[in-house]
């Protein structure tokens, strides 16, 4: 499993791991959408793009997830897949523009099993780090 749920009394908290930071960000987006519905029931009918920019740190990670959640809040888009590209600014490795392409479709109550509404992606306990085994992150959603 690329993401697992950690104990949190009030809300929901995920740990995500990835061999690369591209994989990690993509899996975090999937964890987010899997909170709303069952991704196995979501078809790759449509595409949306989002972009986030800054130092590769917790703040950028949370900002990226906020923008992914906006896709659902704006027009009900749920993604089953996500492709990420990090573009270094002036050749930098830590100051980046993240370009994400998410594939999925609009949420349909008749087709998609209903899980829960996400109120927000919070900064509480957010972590993003590179380890010897790859990339690791945690984040908390307010439900």
């Amino acid at each position: 499993m690329p993401f697992t749920e950690l104990p949190h009394t009030g809300d929901i908290r995920y740990r995500v791991t990835g061999a690369t930071r591209e994989e990690l960000f993509a899996d975090a987006a999937k964890a987010l959408f899997s909170t709303i519905t069952d991704l196995d029931k979501v078809e790759a009918k449509d595409e949306r793009r989002i972009e986030a920019f800054g130092q590769v740190d917790e703040e950028l990670f949370i900002n990226f997830l906020r923008k992914a959640l906006d896709l659902f809040n704006d027009d009900g888009f749920v993604a089953r897949d996500c492709r990420i590209t990090f573009l270094g600014i002036d050749g930098s490795d830590w100051l980046c523009s993240i370009q994400a392409t998410l594939t999925g479709e609009r949420f349909d109550r008749k087709k998609h099993p209903y899980r829960t509404e996400i109120k927000a992606v919070t900064y509480h306990g957010a972590e993003l780090k590179q380890t010897q085994e790859g990339w690791k992150a945690t984040f908390t959603l307010d439900l």
Binding site: T9, G10, K119, G125, L143
Partner: protein, 490 residues
Amino acid sequence: MTKHSELAIGGIRLVQRTENSWEIPKEGGMRVPGRVYASRKMLGDLDHDRALEQVKNVAYLPGILEVSLGMPDIHWGYGFPIGGVAATDIETGVISPGGVGYDINCGVRLMRSNLHLDDVKPKVRDLVVALFAAIPTGVGSEGAAGTLSIEEVDRILNGGVGVVIRKGFGSPEDQERIEQQGFLSWADASAVSDRAKQRGSKQLGSLGSGNHFLEIQVVEEIFDEEAARVFSLEKGMITVLIHSGSRGLGYQVCDDAVHAFTRIGREKYGIELPDPELCSVPLHSPEGEQYWAAMAAAAHFAWSNRQVMMHVVRQVFRETLRMPDRTLGMDLVYDVCHNIAKKEEHVINGKKQMCCVHRKGATRACPPGHPDLPEIYRETGQPVLVPGDMGRASYVLKGTQKAMTETFGSCCHGAGRVMSRHASMRACKGRNLRDEMDRFGVEVRAHGYRTIAEEMPHAYKDVSEVVQVMHDEGISLKVAKLRPLGVIKG
């Protein structure tokens, strides 16, 4: 008083100050001590959770006054604990959007009726089915009020609950039984982002998901006859409780502010806090004032949302039971906020002063005689509404002077979770939840098995124990106990 003792829960030192309250001594960057209200037994629930650490973190807020508080329903949240109360100095203190929460003015309202249990018992299922059909719940649902234009949203954001009442959702008498009469004079729609308004435009009159609910109940027990009479409650009476908030509009207002303040708080105002979600700016700053106006606007939306749902409840009862409004007598008892910040007068170090009281999962609890109370409740004190889990009970209490001296006039707001949603789901494996809820005598409708599994009574503290702590400490006094009969959830 028994001998006072010291405990360590989850590595945090607690010094007993009364039977049911515990001080977390000031240390490190804490500007004031912490204090938690809980019985010794309930403290055990906090061992595996980070709520006490969050009480300590809140004590770092610049301008925090006297004490960082945790009510007995306290549990791990984001930033503030759920069940957290903190007052900051109105001149030199900060405002923390995380101290209000994403669901701005999430709250509850209680309706009474002329109906008796015997009248309604055979009809509970019909009522629950009809309510579930009439009140939009869950993900992607559109509100009972239809889609509003942005101008209509703006009118609500500026004008408060009176705007929807004048449109025909309810009656003018409802308004005086809403905290602050559902109107905060400093609300300003122009402080709210377009995205927030867009989200709100489709959601007026919708319940939401998670722990939001709408419940048909019966008054099971009266503890204070006189106050119950003033609140127009009596044993055997049918009541309805609505728990919901400001929906996507409020979430977006908070999200916009938190996102901006994580950086501005640190870089522009030099405010360093142990958790980025606590991010704050001075109340007296352009950013603080903008959030303050936007928060109030979102609070207007939440009151209007509950008002529209209450109107639908009256319609459903009228049609299902085929009784006119006068026979039903479904009047509002009171509507309280759970997530809000307000400027209030309190006595600090023996002197009256204005403070900004953040309540994150706590209710106000005004004592008898308080100027913010409507005339009808001036002598009894404020009705304090404390919903419990969907199987056991909810309570009505009344505010006291003790709350003013100890908790900035605040009380608990619910039972409080003890189990994560995940753990609750796991604990449900192999059980027949519908049968179990039948045994509680509660008719439940929700969109999915998952919501029911996550919200089962075992996931919550026993609200009776939570309320008893407030009662025994004299913070609020028990008036009535309500037992659920039917509930709809998201």
